[in-house]
Amino acid sequence: MTPGPLLEVQGLAKRFEVGGSWLGRHRRVIRAVDGVSFALEPGETLGLVGESGCGKSTTARLILRLIEPSAGQIRLEGRDLLGLPARELWAARRRMQIVFQDPYGSLNPRMRVGEIIAEPLAIYSLAAAADRRRRVSELLELVGLDPAFALRYPHELSGGQRQRIGIAAALALHPALIVADEPVSALDVSVQAQVLNLLMDLRRRLGLTYLFISHDLHVVLHMSDRVAVMYLGEIVELGPRAAIQHAPKHPYTRVLLSAVPVADPTLRRDRIVPAGEVASPLAMPSGCRFHPRCPFRHRPLPGRSPRAPRGRLRPSGGLSFDLI
C-alpha cells in the first residue's frame, strides 16, 4: 500500500459575517477562504503566497482548526479532522504545530524559555519533570541555542532567538506537519537567512513536512517544492517551484513575480504592473476575481461579465489553466 498524502484539503472555505443589526438585516459576508484544495505529501514543503487579505493565514488557522471552517474537508494522515470528536482532535493536534510570525506576541513573557518549550510536553503528559528538562536541552540544541537559554525570559532575547524558541516549542511533540505562518517576516535579512537555513536543516534532519506561508514570493520560492498562489480567497495557481518561477501561467502569478524588486540592478526589467488595488472581499468581482486588475484580460462584451477561468486545479500539483 502506498502511503497517501500527509495532509489533504478539499474545498476549504471560511465565511465571516460582518455588520448588520442583531436581527441579521444588512449583514454581509466576507468569503475569506473560498474553496481551497491541495494535498501535501510527506516530507514536502508547500508554499502559500499572496498579498494581505488573500486568505493565506486564515487557511493556516483553518487547517489547525484554530477557527472552524464553513465548508470543506481536512484530512491529516487519512483522518478527517472536521469529523473528529474533541478528544481525538486533541490527540491529532500533536501531529501538527504552528510557528507564528511574531516571536514577540507568541511567547508568554512571564514564562522562562524552558517552561515555554516544556509546556506542550506537560499538556500531553509526555515526560516526567527530569526527562522534560533533558528534552528541553535537546530541543534548544536542535534549534542552535545553548541549553542555558532555558532559564532566560523572552524579553532578554533577540528576534531571531525568539523565533528559534517558537520553533523549538513547535517541535517538542514530534509533529509531522509544521505550519509556518510568515515565520521570518518580522526579522532583518541577516537574521532571516539564519532562520530559513535552520528550517531547511530541520526539515531534512527530522523529515518534517511544511506548509510555508509568506507574502514574500522569493522567500516562498526559496523554501518550497511546490507553490500555491492565492488571490482574494482562492488558489489561482499551484505548481512545482520551477514552473512557478520560470513558466507562470496565471496573470496574477506573473504580476507578482514581476513586482518583486530584485536585488540586482542588471536584472532591471520592464515590469508588468497591475492596475489599481485588490478589490474589497465585500464586493468580490464577478468572473475571475483578478480581472479588474489584469493586464491580460479580454474586454467583456457590454452587459456581460468576464468568464471565470476554465482551468482546473488538480489537487496534487499539476496545473491546467486557460487564460480568460
Binding site: E51, S190, H218, L256, A259, R271
Partner: protein
C-alpha cells in the same frame, strides 16, 4: 557648485540613564542635484535617525551632537526653528513609511495639500484647491476631483502614500527624503509606487534620499548607495558597483543572505551573531565580531571610510 545636500561628520546621540547612546556616528555623504542616494541598513543601524537629523526632527532625548548639514551650501544646523520650518515646507519634501504620521486625520487630503500650496505659492483658495486636484492627478490618484475631498482614513494604504507624496511635492522641493515609503505596502502596490517615484524623480530632476532596508528597492531606484552598520557608513558606491563588486564584508553578507532567483533552495549565506549593543561601544571595527575576514588590527583600530576607487568608498582595510 556645492552638492545639493552635504552631510559632514554627523553625530546624533540619545541621552539614556547610562550615558549618551550614539545612533549616528560621524556620518558623511553628499547628494547631488537630481540624484537618488540610497541609505540602506538593518533595524537600528541609524538610517532613519540620519534622515530625521537632516530635517532637524530628531525626537528628544535625541540631539545632534556634532557635524554640519549643508543644503545648497547653507548650514541647516544654525537655523532657528521658524527658518527650519520654511526649509521643510519648501525645499525638502518628506514621505514616511506610515502616511498617518504626516497626514492630519481631521482634514481632508485636499485641505492639507491646498493649504501647503497656499503657504508656498500664495494665490487664492480656489487656485490652491485646483492645485491640490492637479497634484493628486500627478501622483495618479484615480478620480482626483472626487478623492480630493476624502479624509486619510477613507483611503487605502497605497492611495494614502500617493496623497502624502502629493503633499510632499506640492511646493516643488529639490530634495525628497523618503523613509521606507513602500515597506508597509503589498508588493504589487509597492511596484506602482516605485514606478511613480522613479517617474516623478526623472521628470522633475528632483534629488531623493531613499532610506530603506530593502536591497531590491535600492537596485530598482538608486544611483548611489551608502550601507550603514551600527551608526557608521561602511561602504558607499554607485549602485551597479555595490552589487557587482561589494568590498565591505557586511555588504557582501547582506547581498548573499537574500534568496536569489538563481539560487532558490540552496542554503543561504548567513551573517552569524547580531549587531553590537550601541550602549556598549567597543574599540575597532564594529563589524569585526561577526566578520569572517577580521584580523588583529580590526579589533583595535576603527577603519576609516576611504576611497578604494574613484567614487567607491569602503571602511575595511582587509578585503580587496
Amino acid at each position: 557648485m556645492p552638492p545639493l545636500l552635504q552631510v559632514d561628520d554627523l553625530v546624533t546621540e540619545f541621552s539614556t540613564g547610562t550615558g549618551p547612546l550614539r545612533a549616528v556616528d560621524r556620518v558623511s555623504f553628499t547628494v547631488d542635484r537630481g540624484e537618488v542616494l540610497g541609505l540602506v541598513g538593518e533595524s537600528g543601524c541609524g538610517k532613519s535617525v540620519t534622515s530625521l537629523s537632516i530635517m532637524r526632527l530628531v525626537p528628544p532625548p535625541g540631539r545632534i551632537a556634532a557635524g554640519r548639514i549643508l543644503l545648497d551650501g547653507e548650514d541647516l544646523l544654525v537655523k532657528d526653528a521658524e527658518a527650519m520650518r520654511q526649509v521643510r515646507g519648501a525645499r525638502i519634501g518628506m514621505v514616511f513609511q506610515e502616511p498617518m504620521t504626516s497626514l492630519n486625520p481631521v482634514f481632508s487630503i485636499g485641505d492639507q495639500i491646498a493649504s501647503a500650496a497656499l503657504a508656498h505659492s500664495g494665490g487664492g483658495r480656489a487656485a490652491a484647491w485646483e492645485r491640490a486636484v492637479e497634484m493628486l492627478h500627478l501622483v495618479q490618484v484615480p478620480a482626483p476631483a472626487e478623492r480630493v475631498r476624502d479624509y486619510p482614513h477613507q483611503l487605502s494604504g497605497g492611495l494614502r502614500q500617493r496623497a502624502m507624496l502629493a503633499l510632499a511635492l506640492v511646493s516643488g522641493p529639490r530634495l525628497l527624503i523618503a523613509d521606507e515609503p513602500t515597506t508597509a505596502l503589498d508588493v504589487t502596490i509597492q511596484a506602482q509606487i516605485l514606478d511613480l517615484l522613479r517617474r516623478l524623480q526623472a521628470e522633475r530632476g528632483m534629488a531623493v534620499l531613499m532610506i530603506t532596508h530593502d536591497l531590491g528597492v535600492v537596485a530598482e531606484l538608486c544611483h548611489r548607495v551608502a550601507v550603514i552598520y551600527a551608526g557608521r557608513i561602511v561602504e558607499l558606491a554607485p549602485v551597479e558597483r555595490i552589487f557587482a563588486r561589494p568590498l565591505h564584508p557586511y555588504t557582501r553578507g547582506l547581498l548573499r543572505c537574500l534568496p536569489h532567483p538563481s539560487r532558490f533552495g540552496q542554503p543561504l549565506f548567513s551573517i552569524e551573531g547580531a549587531p553590537p549593543d550601541p550602549r556598549r561601544p567597543s574599540a575597532g571595527c564594529r563589524f569585526a565580531p561577526r566578520c569572517p575576514h577580521a584580523i588583529e588590527s580590526c579589533r583595535r583600530d576603527e577603519p576609516p571610510l576611504e576611497a578604494r576607487e574613484p567614487g567607491h568608498l569602503v571602511a575595511c582595510p582587509v578585503t580587496t
